[in-house]
């Protein structure tokens, strides 16, 4: 009974946020604001719901690069699971009963809302590492009341080592640190954007370790050719062999091999350019790739008697028009009107949904389009004055016929 009421409460109050249709339409920052709003509204609700929302805020923080210590501590007071917690928590009942997953399914950061040991460890480590990096004198005293002592000591030791400090030799597992020292790391952070506006400077943040020389290669892809050939979203593991690099850079570092540091790479070469780019970071046989999309295209359409009228919009929601604007649908190119950007797609005999490639100048983007069939509905409204229906008299009737094609007048 209580659950039914809460379910109704959640769905009514946060219908827009929880709706599956809106799942992918928010930025990480917008989602964060919604999560915080939902957390505030759940003040008098069960703790398991509050903790589930706090966990989502923490996961969102990794994507938005917002590491809020207060939120972290608030979650640690009532974690969904007790692993990595100290003895005080081990004796308490775990909150996670997986009840909320079915209501908050569309706002969860983790796939299927998984709560598992490894993902929790990754989350705790990521936050603690951020707190340590923002304050190298950090000794994690304020977290001792929550975490298991060994878990904290091991992490602190690792962070100190990776920051270039000396090991406290009497207690350390040297083999572990030797492996750690030899490890090459070019770790592109999750908070990196993958879509940039045309005039926006491309910036990529990476954690780097044991790299003395870093080569960066930028490949430009002909997105129209790629999508026409594959008709699938661009993947970072695309084969780059045979491709000529558009730009190349080299960075030199003289840090200790164990020392992990953060670097922000800026690519002024990509200023005011549109297209699909793969940026490859290479060092010591290790490589990382970022796929960057500069500029976005979107499609709007409406049904008319002539067919479906479509317009391609650029990132500023302006209609694209010109000689090289159009779309590929089912291997047929529909060119846009050069003056107004209008594209007319005739109705199909049978309604189909298929991939569409939007093209403007040298840039293309993959999307989906539902080509509708021609379907007419007819209705009318009638006006008859009942008082005029007098025997032997002339009565007037007004009829307003309404013909709709695909539900539009």
């Amino acid at each position: 009974m209580i659950l039914t009421l809460l379910e109704r409460y959640l769905k009514n109050k946060f219908h827009f946020e929880l709706d599956e249709e809106n799942k992918d339409s928010f930025t990480h920052h917008q989602r964060r604001e919604q999560l915080i709003e939902m957390y505030k509204a759940s003040e008098n609700r069960p703790q398991s719901l509050k903790s589930a929302l706090l966990l989502e805020i923490l996961e969102n923080g990794i994507k938005t690069n917002i590491f809020d210590k207060n939120v972290f501590i608030e979650y640690l007071k009532n974690p969904l699971k007790n692993w990595y917690m100290n003895k005080k928590y081990q004796n308490t009942r775990e909150l996670n009963d997986n009840v909320w997953a079915q209501y908050t399914n569309n706002i969860q950061n983790r796939k299927n809302g998984q709560i598992n040991r490894n993902q929790d460890r990754k989350l705790y480590k990521r936050y603690l590492e951020e707190f340590y990096e923002s304050n190298p004198e950090e000794n994690f005293d304020e977290f001792k009341e929550f975490f298991d002592k060994n878990f904290l000591v091991d992490l602190l030791e690792e962070f100190e080592y990776l920051s270039g400090k000396e090991l406290k030799k009497e207690k350390t597992d040297l083999k572990r640190f030797e492996t750690l020292s030899n490890k090459v790391l070019i770790d592109l952070l999750e908070c990196n954007q993958d879509v940039f506006k045309t005039d926006e400077r491309v910036k990529i943040v990476a954690n780097i370790k044991n790299v003395s020389s870093l080569h960066i290669k930028i490949f430009e892809f002909n997105s129209e050719n790629y999508y026409r050939k594959n008709l699938a979203p661009f993947r970072s593991n695309v084969d780059l062999d045979g491709l000529v690099t558009a730009f190349q850079k080299e960075y030199k570092y003289d840090k200790l091999p164990q020392q992990k540091f953060r670097e922000v790479f800026e690519f002024e070469e990509l200023d005011n350019r549109v297209g699909l780019f793969v940026i490859e970071f290479i060092s010591n046989g290790y490589s990382s790739r970022a796929v960057i999309k500069k500029g976005t295209l979107s499609l709007i359409f409406q049904s008319t008697v002539k067919g479906q009228i479509c317009y391609i919009l650029d990132e500023n929601q302006r209609i694209c028009q010109g000689e090289n604007t159009g779309l590929w649908y089912q291997n047929i190119y529909h060119k846009a009107n050069e003056k107004n950007g209008k594209i007319i797609i005739p109705y199909a005999k049978i309604e189909t949904t298929d991939k569409v490639i939007l093209v403007n100048e040298r840039f293309a983007q993959l999307s989906e389009f539902r080509r509708r069939s021609e379907s007419y509905t007819f209705d009318a409204s009638y006006i008859v004055n009942h008082e005029s229906l007098l025997m032997g008299k002339e009565a007037d009737i007004l009829i307003n016929p309404i013909l709709k094609v695909n539900d539009r007048k």
Partner: protein, 160 residues
Amino acid sequence: MKNTKVTLSTLSFIDSLVSTKIIDDLKPNSNEEIAVSFQVPPNLANLEIMIETEVKNISKGTTEKLKSTHSIKLDTKNNANSFYESYFRKYKGDYYYYLLGKNGEALVDSSIQLTFAHSTIANQSTSVLLNTDEDGKIKLGPLKDIRLVTSSFNGPNGPC
């Protein structure tokens, strides 16, 4: 839209016969309604209006026939036992209640239970028992701020 036509069908309650009038060759225009007129026959029980049109479906290469109908049922009280009905009328700023028979004859000195609900006083109403005059009417006045009036007459052949 092509070949648009309106069919008016009237049903008589005496012999249940249907009479039909067809108005064709209409040219529908999105800016104005189609106006049709007909002579109201005696003993009208039902009026059915049907508008039909044809549309060419270019992608399917077919012509689709579309139609819409609307029906008006007249309350003749032919099979009812009660030969009277309540009416409400506004005349020169005042409201009147009428109790009239099937041919418009007044039901004189009949007791009517009237209930009034005020627009701002919620969940409260006032009831009063009043008699009709020689015209079968009761003058109710301007009914200022009254949001609901209900009447009840328990006649010899059933309530109304």
